[in-house]
């Protein structure tokens, strides 16, 4: 069996997840990356998306919001605004959020990369992550 790494997810609403896992996949801002035991120290910005981690051969999934991930040989630590498992997701709610975010992006007049634009994009990604997880 592969060496396990500890995985911890903290949100402002509490510690969402604290477990051991064989491998973890994190949706980084610069693309998804995987972490196995003995990984080199990494500090990455995280965008809203799906967090995947493997436990006893089965893949677990959860939607996470934006934040940061820090990992080294033995652990992965994530801080994120949101965390939801498949049973937490309210699909209608997510769809409403998606439409609202799309509308905000469509009517956005400012410059690309403005805080407002980034926020709308983040909301959009978070809605998409939840929808992807639920379906």
């Amino acid at each position: 069996m592969a060496q396990s790494i500890s995985l911890e997810v903290a949100t402002p609403l509490g510690r969402a997840l604290s477990t051991d896992s064989e491998s973890v996949q994190v949706p980084g801002v610069a693309g998804e990356f995987g972490v196995l035991a003995m990984h080199l120290p990494i500090l990455a910005a995280v965008k809203p998306g799906i967090l995947k981690y493997r436990q006893n051969g089965t893949e677990e999934r959860a939607a996470i919001g934006g934040g940061f991930a820090e990992a080294d040989a033995t652990h992965v630590r994530l801080i994120t605004e949101f965390y939801a498992t498949q049973s937490d997701v309210d699909l209608d709610d997510a769809k409403r959020d998606l439409e609202a975010a799309q509308e905000r992006l469509r009517t956005f007049k400012g410059e690309f990369g403005d805080p407002e634009h980034r926020e709308a994009q983040r909301d959009l990604d978070w809605a998409l992550a939840r929808i992807e997880l639920a379906s």
Binding site: T11, L13, G14, A30, L43
Partner: protein
């Protein structure tokens, strides 16, 4: 001795007051429980953020890497005072404003320019009455406390600091120890102090995704917001704790007062009965005679 009717009226008044203080005690107790829960839930997030930031800061040799890490000579200082919007919380606001005012005067004596940011109407009113350089004020933050409100305050602080209008930011707030004890603390918020870099020496540098600069750009403001949010939560819990204790004491005092008034009322009643009896008896005797 006051007459019986007056005393009974006073008893009724004190009883009404007692009802109010008891209700306020119960409300404060319920809110305290919720506020305490919020802090406990927030802690792992705040700690992880701090851990990541210190791990990152320890790997930065140059303080000029990011404006929020920049150390300048302290000339312009911002003092954020966290009071409450409502009174009747014992010494909660008095202690806070006293300490904040002391800090303010100390900084002024040192020849610094100080701007006070008051969160909560009680602190705002206190500083308005004094000749204090009062900057932005925030009220109604605590009623429905959210992370968004904390980042609103954080955003204002960060932009002032980044544009070099400020050289240091301190927070004065009531730290929550327990339901019966709160302590006023003064905490430096900016510049962010890299924590014990020697300890980290020899550690391999991180792989940064996307880059160290971009991570700092988002992680540092996040840290500031999280710290403000944490201080707000501490303050709210302290406020409810202080109010709970104050109202518990008020209820007890009201009870003591009712007891002593009841004693007075009984004495007055007895005295009245005695007088009446004496009158009747002497009346009857004068008929017999």
């Amino acid at each position: 001795m006051a007459n019986l009717k007056e005393i009974r009226k006073r008893i009724a008044t004190v009883k009404n007051t007692q009802k109010i203080t008891r209700a306020m005690y119960l409300v404060a107790a319920a809110r305290l429980r919720k506020a305490q829960e919020n802090i406990t839930r927030m802690r792992p997030y705040a700690l992880s953020t701090l851990d990541m930031l210190s791990a990152l800061a320890a790997r930065i040799d140059d303080e000029d890497t990011h404006p929020l890490l920049a150390r300048r000579e302290e000339k312009h200082v911002m003092l954020i005072a966290l009071s409450s919007d409502r009174g009747l919380a014992g010494a909660f606001n008095a202690q806070l404003t006293k300490e904040a005012y002391k800090q303010y005067n100390r900084l002024i004596e040192d020849g610094k320019q100080v701007e006070v940011v008051a969160i909560g109407t009680k602190g705002r009113d206190f500083f308005r009455r004094r000749s204090v350089n009062l900057g932005q004020t925030f009220s109604n933050v605590f009623e429905d406390l959210s992370y968004e409100k904390a980042s609103e305050i954080g955003g204002a602080v960060i932009s002032a600091y980044s544009s070099s209008k400020l050289d240091a930011v301190y927070m004065v707030y009531n730290e929550f120890k327990s339901a019966i004890s709160q302590q006023v603390v003064v905490e430096p918020l900016l510049p962010i102090k890299p924590m014990s870099p020697d300890r980290m020496e020899g550690t391999a540098d991180y792989i940064y995704e996307p880059s160290q600069g971009e991570i700092l750009d988002t992680l540092l403001p996040l840290y500031v917001n999280v710290e403000i949010y944490r201080a707000l939560l501490e303050s709210v819990a302290s406020e409810h704790g202080a109010r709970m204790t104050a109202m518990d004491n008020a209820t007890k005092n009201a009870k003591e007062m009712i007891d002593s008034l009841t004693l007075q009322a009984n004495r007055a009643r007895q005295a009245a009965i005695t007088t009446e009896l004496t009158e009747i008896i002497s009346g009857a005797e004068s008929l017999n005679a």
